[in-house]
């Protein structure tokens, strides 16, 4: 008898009959239950949101293809495009021709991206999804199905990914079950900087934001570090005054932090600082000189 242990009980999962609770099985069976980890880039989510906003009249959800790369243990979703489709009570029609066309066009730009699955907005997985998923299984091995609740039914966006698995009694009708996968968000460095900037539009009243100029940015970054230091300081004071229990791991991190500040003698630091400042000032002077030179050159030529 194999001992099973419930890994985590999703409170929403118990209401949705199409999901299962994850159990830890012995290693041999683990790969087939878990499936790959799905890493999503923010551009995909923004794209899905945008195509949801532009959906046709009367359509309650949009679907589209996910593109990306497949690894041994993970699937990285880096791009997507929406596919027009019509959905009614009893039938669903997806423009396959369009999907193929778009995929070809996209392949010209990034030849390394392949179809890894499809997405749909909305909270539930309907019967139509099964049909669409079947189509996509022809295009890609083991496609991923991504859902994003743009109608915010439960107050959150609920970005989830699923893989389909066969279920049922052998010999009788075989059904399809969507098993959830763990979703992680992956950013390139520059993407994260872009997302940071975009996040600033959250606080602006009419959701707009300009790009800041050089020294303001440094000031902003310094401000953020200052905020973080303030949080750490309040925590330390709470621990010292006994309001909070001291956590050893946090203490170790703090030790690391304090030790990271390099111990440089005052003279060494002075020399380093001065030489750096000299370099920068010299470069500023040279660039100003060059600018004056070309301005002068222009005036002379026009004479």
């Amino acid at each position: 008898m194999v001992a099973v242990r419930p890994l985590g009980i999703d409170s929403e999962a118990s209401s949705d009959p199409l999901q299962i609770k994850l159990y830890e099985l012995p290693a041999a069976a683990q790969m087939s239950v878990y499936g790959p980890v799905v890493k999503i880039h923010p551009v995909v989510l923004a794209s899905i949101g945008d195509s949801y906003e532009r959906r046709n009249e009367g359509a309650s959800r949009v679907i589209g293809t996910l593109l990306g790369t497949i690894d041994k243990h993970s699937v990285e979703v880096t791009n997507c495009f929406s596919v027009p489709h019509n959905e009614s009570e009893d039938e669903v029609a997806v423009d396959m021709e369009f999907a193929k066309n778009m995929y070809d066009l996209h392949k010209r730009v990034s030849p390394s991206e392949v179809i890894v699955g499809w997405y749909a907005t909305g909270f539930e997985i309907t019967e139509h999804s099964v049909l669409i998923h079947e189509y996509y299984s022809r295009e890609a091995t083991n496609p991923i199905h991504l859902t994003m609740d743009t109608a915010l039914q439960s107050g959150k966006m609920n970005i989830r990914a699923y893989v389909s698995a066969q279920m049922g009694v052998p010999g009788k009708t075989v059904g399809v079950m969507f098993t959830p996968l763990s979703v992680k968000y992956k950013y390139y460095d520059t993407e994260r900087i872009g997302v940071d900037l975009l996040q600033r539009t959250r606080d602006a009243p009419n959701t707009t934001n300009g790009l800041t100029s050089d020294l303001c940015q440094v000031g902003g970054a310094a401000g953020r570090v200052q905020d973080m230091l303030a949080t750490v300081l309040t925590y330390i004071e709470d621990v010292l005054s006994g309001k909070q229990m001291a956590d050893n791991s946090v203490g170790r991190y703090l030790m690391d932090l304090v030790n990271k500040v390099p111990k440089i003698t005052a003279e060494d630091f002075e020399t380093m600082l001065n030489s750096n400042i000299n370099d920068l000032l010299m470069v500023t002077y040279l660039s100003n000189l060059t600018q004056a030179q070309i301005a002068l050159n222009e005036k002379i030529v026009v004479l």
Partner: protein
């Protein structure tokens, strides 16, 4: 840089609200970009642009009053030699047709390009932007600087050609006299349009969720103190351009010297002629025929001024970037000094 010229497509539907008298002043006062476009551009460079020249793509959107709203974009494939029968116009047309089916704005409003350390002022860019602006009045070129972005802050600039430059390009008159007539300096070539980023409410919700879900440690590249690598490369590029510039100046100097020498020779010849004629008259012989002096002394070809202008503009751009960079770094150094002083 072997950027190829992008052929613009004629707009398939009339623009939203272009007033007929808007061609006098710049018709676009502000650019509004959606977050999605920014993310797509970043991703495009990250995946396809490493190590190669530049990545380019098309911007789609609408014109609303005096704002240019950019709502979507799609990338252009790299120009490879082994893809000789690849038709760019066809790719563009197909892409826009397909995007129309999913209700994405299919109006061409400009193009974007990535740049290496700010070196984008080139003949190719000028030509492309001119053909775009000629066909579509409000088009802009977005320059995305990935290296500056990686240092901590998104670097995105929008440029248009000034009306003066448009006139000159139209007449294709790049000689010195033409430019002198229009009084164009390198500062009047491109005009920068301010950018504003706008996100719809749904995207804002998405941003909140991402922040909650994703506890990626902030890496603070912006506070990085190291500067020598960046400075070195920028200065190297600047030096190359200044070398080009000095060569151009030498050429121009030789030209003007040749011209003045020729003028002198002409004068001397005419004087000698007149003297001879006077002598002949006193001797009673027929004067020598007046020869066409201009045919004998062909004026030297004046060097083209357009390249010099472009180089000057590029140098200006480099200098601006370097100054911005140094001012940031000076600020950071003083902060470090304050911290260190506090410690010791």
């Amino acid at each position: 840089m072997a950027t190829r010229k992008e052929t613009p497509s004629t707009p398939t539907a009339p623009m939203a609200s272009t007033s007929p008298g808007a061609t006098l002043d710049s018709p676009v006062k502000q650019i509004q970009i959606e977050g999605l476009v920014v993310l797509k551009m970043i991703k495009h460079y990250q995946e396809e642009g490493q190590g190669s020249e530049v990545v380019q793509g098309v911007l789609l959107g609408l014109v609303v009053e005096d704002r240019l709203e950019i709502t979507n974009c799609f990338p252009f494939p790299q120009h490879t030699e082994d893809d000789a029968d690849f038709d760019e116009v066809q790719y563009q047309m197909e892409m826009m047709r397909s995007l129309r089916h999913v209700n994405i704005d299919h109006l061409h409003v400009g193009w974007y390009q990535s740049t290496y350390y700010g070196s984008f002022v080139s003949r190719a860019l000028l030509d492309s932007q001119f053909s775009y602006q000629h066909a579509i009045e409000e088009s802009v070129v977005l320059i995305y600087d990935p290296i500056k972005t990686a240092r901590g802050s998104l670097s995105l600039k929008a440029y248009r050609l000034t009306p003066k430059l448009m006139e000159i390009c139209k007449e294709k008159d790049f000689s010195a006299e033409g430019l002198k007539k229009a009084l164009i300096g390198f500062e009047h070539m491109f005009e920068e349009v301010p950018i504003v980023i706008k996100n719809s409410h749904l995207i804002n919700v998405l941003m909140w969720e991402l922040e909650e879900k994703c506890t990626v440690a902030d890496k603070h590249e912006l506070l990085n103190l190291s500067s020598s690598n960046h400075l070195e490369k920028s200065l190297q590029l600047l030096m190359d351009r200044v070398d080009d510039m000095s060569q151009d100046i030498v050429k121009y100097n030789t030209y003007s010297r040749n011209l003045s020498k020729q003028q002198q020779q002409k004068h001397q010849y005419i004087q000698r002629r007149q003297q001879e004629n006077a002598q002949r008259q006193t001797r009673g012989e027929t004067p020598l025929p007046e020869e066409d002096v201009s045919k004998m002394f062909k004026p030297p070809q004046p060097p083209p001024r357009m390249d010099t202008l472009l180089i000057a503009g590029q140098i200006n751009n480099y200098c601006q970037n370097v100054k911005e960079f140094t001012s940031q770094n000076l600020g950071k150094l003083f902060m470090a000094e304050a911290l260190q002083g506090h410690n010791s």
